[in-house]
Amino acid sequence: MTGFSYSSALEIAVSVVLLAAIVTLWRRSVRAIVRSLAVQGVALAAVAAVLGIHLRDPGLLVVAALVLGAKAVVIPYLLIRLVRIDPGSRETQPLVNVPASLVAAGALTFLAFVASRSVTAVVPSIAGRLIPVGLASMLVGFFALFTRRKAVSEIVGLMLVDNGVALVAFLATSGVPLLVELGASLDVLLGVVVLQVLAIQLRSRLGSFDLDQLKELHD
């Protein structure tokens, strides 16, 4: 792969990760949000694949395949099944409206660029320059997590945070060692399965996935 096409491929894939995160703030339909999470999974796998080809590292290609399987197929599938169980939860009711959310996403992206200066200074490569984008998609994930009050959209928020962290890991260090990567992916996958089961149990108690009904525990 020539230098030019490597850098543009990487830039496109990384930008899609951030765009997909922002789309989840913009769309109201839970199905659309899960779809954009799947798109983000594909883009994340593409980042790993592009890096793997560029660095001639077969380990990264394995990781790319894993990411594709877990984050673009299995996890979105589990979430779509949750949406099917409860037709009432198809719309998110964000605590912050869409325009304000998008402004916040812009502010968070700026914050990410400021916060990661010390890190980008250390990694002078093309990938290193893109680290702030990874951090930005993580922060957008946080925002989504704290302003969306449906079970499915909370899980999506959590996955956005997770994908953002994974993107930073790919860009900064070309991924953590393979053993750690495998264990971490397994943990994340199991975590989503646990969340899914828990959401179903909660629904059977509450009658919906609306987490605003969860306020019995407080001081």
């Binding site: 916060a115 990694v123 900064a172 053993l179 750690v180 199991l190 089961v197 108690r205 525990l217």
Partner: protein
């Protein structure tokens, strides 16, 4: 030996996966915990003042610090698995749980133990992260085991908040890894703790500052340190009593162990002041939050949960001081707090079982109606409040002393103020719960099977407060690993 340590709970979990619940399965779990304790002592003897052991192709590593943590895990697990048998028997008798569901509980408890052991035995900081994350996944169903609305709410909050925290810890770990790669650590395992400590003076300070802050925030979430503590009172009050004992007594400490490991690297890279400042801030913040919420508490399980936050704040301050004396006190405090809090949670489970409520107001005069159980609760509370001869008295004193020595006198003074407020709050809640006159007809005996291990644990907590033997050499060896 290290592989065997991990294999015991895993095999026991496998047995729970195969068989539906029976009492023998519960006692098998207790036996597994006892075996972990025995092996922990054996590992301690092997590594104290000697080179670290390693196992499983270098993935596992045990030095004095790991060995001490294994002992702590073993002790509290012994108490908790013992009491689990009674909890499950009762759940089945009341028809709240099937035998399959009870087996799942036993399986998850053993898996939980295995993951905590993996965390303290991991040579690699990535593996440490995997293990801590896995404890969240495993314990979520344990918190929600009763499947009531509140229990499910608590487990949802628990897994969401802790997953966020642990994601931040992962980012912090990645940044430390980046710093190691940048420093030229292209050797075999740049994420190995020993490599990182050796190379720590060459790590890029800017990256380390961001990385270590994220580690404190991330693992701090699982320690229950402010500002990411809000899951703790819910999860610890809703979980079954043996699970609360394990979570409060050891899981918080295991997460703090991760902070200690990273602190050594950060101290090498940045000098002692950076980690010290962060730990003082989160420690004091946790103490203030715990003190203010303990004052108005009306639920005795939540009261115990906030008290865990208080003690985690205290050990954060002790670690901030960082002298050998302070670290030894921090470690002993972890054990003392684990014992006292374990006893209190298990006793509170017994109270909940017989009284049917966790509100302090509705359980009056426990001491006159149930002298043995009330006595255990009372002595546990005294231990927690730091009365001599219990070990928490000595360790709190030594941590404060160390803080004064390194110029953190103002922080020590503030922490003593918070501890005084908490002392008053717990005394008043304890008085309402324990004292008063109860009807003679409501008098109930306490099962000997319940009382004996709890009394034993309290005696142990008092013993380590008086006698330096047998822990002194292990503690000083472990403290040398972390201390400045």
């Amino acid at each position: 030996m290290l592989v065997l340590l991990l294999a015991i709970p895993i095999l026991c979990a496998a047995a729970c996966a195969v068989f539906p619940w029976r009492r023998a399965l519960g006692w098998l779990g207790t036996a597994a915990a006892a075996a972990v304790l025995v092996l922990g002592v054996a590992v301690s003897v092997r590594v104290v003042n000697r080179p670290a052991m390693s196992g499983l192709a270098g993935i596992l590593r045990a030095d004095a610090l790991s060995a001490f943590m294994v002992v702590v895990i073993g002790v509290i697990a012994l108490l908790a698995t013992w009491q689990s048998v009674r909890y499950l028997d009762n759940e089945i008798a009341e028809g709240r749980s099937t035998r399959r569901h009870a087996s799942l509980y036993a399986l998850l408890v053993q898996g939980f133990l295995a993951m905590m052991l993996l965390a303290v035995l991991a040579a690699n900081l990535g593996v440490l992260w995997i293990a801590v994350e896995a404890t969240t996944v495993v314990t979520t169903f344990l918190v929600g085991h009763r499947r009531t609305k509140t229990a499910l709410e608590a487990s949802w909050k628990y897994i969401v908040i802790c997953s966020v925290g642990i994601a931040l810890a992962f980012l912090g770990t990645v940044l430390v890894y980046l710093a190691a790669l940048h420093a030229g650590g292209h050797g075999q395992n740049p994420l190995n703790w020993t490599t990182l400590v050796r190379e720590s003076h060459r790590l890029n300070p800017g990256v380390m500052r961001l990385g270590f802050s994220l580690v404190i925030l991330g693992y701090g979430t699982k320690v229950g340190l402010a500002p990411m503590h809000s899951w703790l009172p819910d999860a610890h009050s809703q979980a079954p009593a043996p699970v609360s004992a394990l979570m409060s007594g050891v899981l918080l400490a295991v997460a703090f162990y991760a902070v200690l490991r990273f602190k050594v690297i950060a101290d090498g890279a940045l000098g002692p002041d950076f980690a010290r400042t962060l730990l003082v801030v989160v420690g004091l913040l946790s103490l203030v939050v715990a003190a203010s919420l303990l004052l108005t508490q009306h639920d005795y399980k939540r009261m115990l949960a906030y008290s865990s936050m208080e003690h985690m704040g205290l050990i954060a301050l002790g670690a901030a001081a960082g002298t050998p004396l302070a670290i030894a006190a921090v470690l002993l405090h972890i054990l003392g707090h684990g014992l006292a809090k374990g006893v209190l949670f298990l006793a509170s489970g017994e109270v909940l079982l017989t009284e049917g409520t966790s509100e302090i107001e509705r359980v009056p005069a426990l001491l006159s109606r149930r002298p043995v159980l009330g006595g255990i609760f009372g002595f546990g509370l005294l231990a927690l409040l730091g009365f001599p001869p219990f070990s928490l008295f000595v360790t709190e004193l030594n941590m404060a002393r160390a803080e004064f020595q390194v110029g953190l006198g103002w922080a020590a003074a503030l922490s003593i103020l918070c501890v005084a407020v908490i002392f008053a709050a717990l005394m008043s809640h304890g008085r309402r719960l324990l004292l008063g006159r109860g009807g003679e007809e409501q008098r109930q005996p306490t099962a000997r099977l319940v009382a004996i291990p709890l009394i034993g644990a309290l005696a142990g907590c008092a013993f380590i407060g008086i006698s330096a033997w047998p822990l002194a050499t292990l503690l000083s060896a472990a403290a040398r690993i972390v201390a400045l």
